[in-house]
Symmetry: C2
Subunit: 274 residues, 2 copies
């Protein structure tokens, strides 16, 4: 288990199981309330997630919103609104630019909060709705693993490019997927998260990963920040959107990344605490 | 207008008016979606909002959740879930304690995010529901201004004490209030915010402020962090919970704080950017 995941587990133990109006709590891409509301929150920290020498405030806002909208997409939820909480360092005057970048996804910013802070902090919450939220935990042995789009492009581009959350694809896949997760940290990490949550193992064939132009296999598997979707589909299910088959869930508990010769490789996705 | 409020206005202009499924956007205590979902987000920053030498991680979590639950209370919304996004400095190992403090209000934590950060960052989002969300903007000249509880206690205690968001009181007052706001920055600032949003002036009689034990008039008016509610009630309306009448909204645009002699006083509430 990654350090970040271990810490999330410790917090989940501290606060106990979900109750009241909460259908699904800590540990998935988003939280699910009883009424079908799905919500996700992220905090981006200057010097950890971004560098203002390499990304504009508008790009930071775009990226922060994309990360949360991608979490909603991974639940099959359609976004309704964003909330923004900014911590602004002395002399920083581009808060409106961050908000403008957030708005470029077409989801309205409905509220927020401002504070001073020693470095720029951008915390975004996305709120959406789903008739049938897809969890990480519904996968079964034999399910086919598929991904949207191409992988490794962010790593190949130095993480400075823009990303598009797969909102429509996620809502379409939700009709057939047994489990889904967004590829924020790389399939090497996120496939393991999906399999562990589903109580299965997994095999991912590295040669089958759809690589973005210029991306290595390692970048496609472990570069992270692509915000594509990884879904488990029942065998024979017809994907409603274009996807690439990259592996399958297994009854054996191991999560294996296999190279072209069938030999297992060890690759690790991004961990903010590693 | 306070610097923080000016910045909020700049952001609101940058992102445009609310659209889609958003009924009420930037500038109120919480955002209101078309389906009655109400959401509020805050970011608390170590060294700005709290000092770990004086507050335990559990107290910080309790306070962060209280601030957002108070925003929901000010809309008359009943809370359903909390989301938590933490930025954790090197060596900080009490994230579960922050979550435990958040949980003490009885509202489940449904999800969150973790990151590294140079100082401790605690961003909380509260999500609730309201049949009839109360805005800041519905007040009318002649409405009576009332507050819950006592004011100035946090300032008198050095801001280290625990606060109780007025959830039940807010939901009860929502049945009669024309406008409502929570007293996070002090009535000197928050009464002006309510009046400006309502397009009215206001008179607050400082001698009528219900002072917490040990609190001065200045602390009661401008100390902030009390998280009591300020509501505007139509003349003759029967308050459904115990409140103290402290003033009224006026047709004249001035917002006046009057001392015992009827002379206006100048007091400023807390501004994180001042």
């Amino acid at each position: 288990m990654l350090p970040e995941d271990a810490l999330v587990s410790a917090i989940a133990r501290a606060v106990g199981p979900p109750s009241g109006g909460v259908a699904l709590g800590i540990g998935d891409d988003g939280a699910v309330l009883d009424d079908g509301t799905v919500a996700s929150t992220d905090v981006l920290v200057e010097g950890v997630h971004f560098d203002l020498a390499r990304m504009s405030p508008r790009d930071v806002g775009h990226r922060a919103a994309a990360a949360n909208l991608s979490d909603l997409a991974a639940m099959g939820a359609w976004p309704v609104a964003l909330l923004a909480a900014f911590g602004l360092p002395p002399g920083f005057e581009d808060a409106a630019e961050i908000a403008a970048g957030m708005s470029e996804h077409g989801v309205p910013i409905a509220g927020g909060d401002l504070s001073r802070a020693p470095v720029l902090i951008v915390s975004v919450t996305a709120i959406g709705r789903s008739e049938r939220p897809v969890r990480r935990s519904g996968g079964r042995p034999g399910d086919v693993l598929v991904v949207t789009g191409e992988l490794g492009g962010q790593a190949a581009a130095g993480y400075a490019g823009r990303v598009t959350p797969r909102i429509e694809e996620g809502c379409a896949l939700a009709a057939v997927a047994t489990a889904m997760i967004d590829l924020s940290d790389g399939i090497a990490t996120d496939a393991e998260r999906l399999a562990r949550a589903s109580g299965t193992g997994a095999v991912v064939e590295l040669e089958r990963l759809p690589r973005a132009p210029g991306a290595t296999v390692e970048q496609a598997a472990a570069g992270g920040e692509d915000y594509e979707l990884l879904a488990a589909l029942p065998p024979g299910a017809e994907p409603p959107v274009p996807v690439t088959v990259v592996g399958r869930l297994t009854a054996e508990p191991d999560v294996l990344l296999l190279d072209a010769t069938g030999a297992p490789r060890t690759l690790r996705g991004w961990d903010h605490f590693a």
